[in-house]
Point group: D3
Chain length 178, copies 6
Amino acid sequence: MTTGLVIGRFQPFHKGHIHAIEYVRKNVDKIIIGVGSALDSHTLNNPFTAAERIEMILIAIKEMGWTLSDFLIIPIPDAPYHKEWVSIVESIVPHFDVVYSNDPLTKILFMEEGYTVKDIPLLEREHYSGEEFRKRVIEGENWREIVTEKVAKYLEEHGLIKRLIELTKTDKPFQKEI
Amino acid sequence: MTTGLVIGRFQPFHKGHIHAIEYVRKNVDKIIIGVGSALDSHTLNNPFTAAERIEMILIAIKEMGWTLSDFLIIPIPDAPYHKEWVSIVESIVPHFDVVYSNDPLTKILFMEEGYTVKDIPLLEREHYSGEEFRKRVIEGENWREIVTEKVAKYLEEHGLIKRLIELTKTDKPFQKEI
Amino acid sequence: MTTGLVIGRFQPFHKGHIHAIEYVRKNVDKIIIGVGSALDSHTLNNPFTAAERIEMILIAIKEMGWTLSDFLIIPIPDAPYHKEWVSIVESIVPHFDVVYSNDPLTKILFMEEGYTVKDIPLLEREHYSGEEFRKRVIEGENWREIVTEKVAKYLEEHGLIKRLIELTKTDKPFQKEI
Amino acid sequence: MTTGLVIGRFQPFHKGHIHAIEYVRKNVDKIIIGVGSALDSHTLNNPFTAAERIEMILIAIKEMGWTLSDFLIIPIPDAPYHKEWVSIVESIVPHFDVVYSNDPLTKILFMEEGYTVKDIPLLEREHYSGEEFRKRVIEGENWREIVTEKVAKYLEEHGLIKRLIELTKTDKPFQKEI
Amino acid sequence: MTTGLVIGRFQPFHKGHIHAIEYVRKNVDKIIIGVGSALDSHTLNNPFTAAERIEMILIAIKEMGWTLSDFLIIPIPDAPYHKEWVSIVESIVPHFDVVYSNDPLTKILFMEEGYTVKDIPLLEREHYSGEEFRKRVIEGENWREIVTEKVAKYLEEHGLIKRLIELTKTDKPFQKEI
Amino acid sequence: MTTGLVIGRFQPFHKGHIHAIEYVRKNVDKIIIGVGSALDSHTLNNPFTAAERIEMILIAIKEMGWTLSDFLIIPIPDAPYHKEWVSIVESIVPHFDVVYSNDPLTKILFMEEGYTVKDIPLLEREHYSGEEFRKRVIEGENWREIVTEKVAKYLEEHGLIKRLIELTKTDKPFQKEI
């Protein structure tokens, strides 16, 4: 039995991620979804909490008809320094055989520690990315087509689209000037 | 549908925890197991990593014949200060309706933030506790009866009993004098 | 008796802040001034220490003829993560009834925790802002009119204008290349 | 005009502190009360938050009929390492001429940085100390005579005596075993 | 006997640094090389670990025929806040008489604590800087002439040029989106 | 050429350490002395700063007539969590072939990462240990025979014996009650 670790920030969990996981499922028996930058939230790049991102992943797994028990979802906090990050992953993520990632930094860090890292074929990255999603929300464009129907509903009903729009009005990470 | 959050350090996951989860299962539809002090390991009180503890929980769930998809297992890091801890839990643990805990500090912190906290009837705490387990390992007594058969096997095969014994030989958290 | 919490970074304490506090004073009996990013200093955005900022606030309170005992001045450190920030504020700031702030992030964070947050009518923000002050100092323009006379004097006599100018010569937060 | 910095943890603010401040008031014009370990709370040694401790100090100042505007109350977080602590104090506490403390570590750290540190004559330390207060609460003895009447009332009405008693039931800083 | 402290990040250790140290050697008996941002690595601005940077410094000292025992090489971690940084330097760097630096922030911080800080005549900074080196590597230009022959060899043989190129492909400090 | 890493806290650097290094010198060409808990100081277990400990090591190397250029002295900060500690060591310590240590925790952590760890024959540990040194200073017994003559002189002339005695008068790590 092989286990694949798929690491992302999932801000939000979108159709590109679904495409990626469909691909990984064909290659491994069990998938651990590592929710990166887990303690970050309420910033332009990381608007949603890990709790909210995990809710979206659970919604999408159900929506896709995948078997929930094939998955393990683990929030992964950032390390103070990159060199320590893999040891933090090892510390909280159960055994995995291969890491799936397209991010150069993730790949470098795992490969320097001797791990097997594999690329994931992307689904039209220009359309299906967290960056594109956040851009569309902020500019009032159609963000709904980037996520599944049920995830879109979750985002709206929990005020998360509104939060993201509000966050754009502050231009500094912790600007609190009156 | 109600969700219960059961928080513990699970050093290791023992029969007392199994008894507790049997009880909680009767009262809620879904259980989130929060693995506390998630980044701690290699100390006398927290010998095992969160990765190892999650492995034990998965082994026990299977051994007990429980439905894996009824569970969510979330490692929870400690907060720098107690007052921030509940906000960290809220930040990474998906929605829950009730907290199950017998620990006074956990109870105070959640209750001061307005949560419902319920006690769990314990199974002979003098026999089934992490403290008792660690004491028996260190003193060479019978620790096997405290955990399930498969968890005992996991602990031995991964050198974790040996690690705990070695850790007793250092009496300070980071004593490294030559 | 109602207490209002006014949070800012006060880099420096300028006439816009004085205008804001004049407004808040009419609506509450007691004002707690929360000095945000309290441990930050010696950067372009946060050039002055909290100690220096509190000195400026005390000078301005006296200069304005306000009653010192109507105020409480509390330095507030940043949180590692936004989600924990309100719990840090609650941890060190005595009871308050309402938060006054125009910053979207501050407002989101407090409102998500159930607090009442009110806007403050701003005094010509294009002229009276910390950003404008720092810009003018760096470009050698008239920064004196942005702060009160006594605060200007304090800034000069303690070498703080000179510090800010020097800080512009380093373009990275901790560039120390020789 | 001379300013004295009086540093304590004030867990809680008791009659020994009142006696100390009476003494310091005769020697300086202005007193800065530095509330140490400001972010700590909910432990046996530091049961109360800085917010709660500041409330007690304000209550006692009023109760004693002292002039509030003679005081500045500044919460001071701990440093990661002792050697950095004085620089943190300098960073957030406005100008002071002399430090009042009887604690050997506080005295060493300030003196090694060149500060003048003075002792405070203590009021029957065996009766009036935070340690004695916490001991009496836990053992059900008379803790009321250690604090002023109004501070005692505050402690009771805000559930703080109850919290301290509950905290004794957990013997580890973050024990959360079920 | 006088000791000079030369602080840099040495990303990488290049000919400009060699020129600087040649200059400092004429003015002091002993040189302490402080390797700043010591725990940072795997970022565009700080691609190399302190371990790797110290290796380069040792290689260059040998290559230049300098006396190794005239040097002490001390990695210096960043402080959480600038105001604490000098106390961290004092905490881990043995006695020094003078600081050599051209960086405005380093100079401000040391001078505010009463230290003597001296400038270093630079060797054509537009050619010999870490920034220029990293730019050339990324743009495929001649980076070899910026460092010594042996340092160039070290960088290539340990895969560090390759790492830097890979790092440019991630545009966020911890972007890990799939 | 082989390099040995000798890790200790060196509180203070005593004759037991000298004995250990004499032994290691016979087995390797180059010794890296890793000064652990580098940022700790001013506590009963870690009274001296890394700067002071490095001074002592330099004094002892000279006193013993060892070749300074055979050594590299690297201060090593503690990790937030044990599991990250080896990655911090790798991040700041140049290449080493073997670790010399008698401390069980150090040995476990390095061995779990695949390193070769060797024991060091100890010199009458009951007499030559940092713990014994600190005990004797505090109890007014003969601590001089535990360190070399020149290290003893350094400790006295820099007020470090006096600091250690003062530190015993505070019984909590950060007790600052007045």
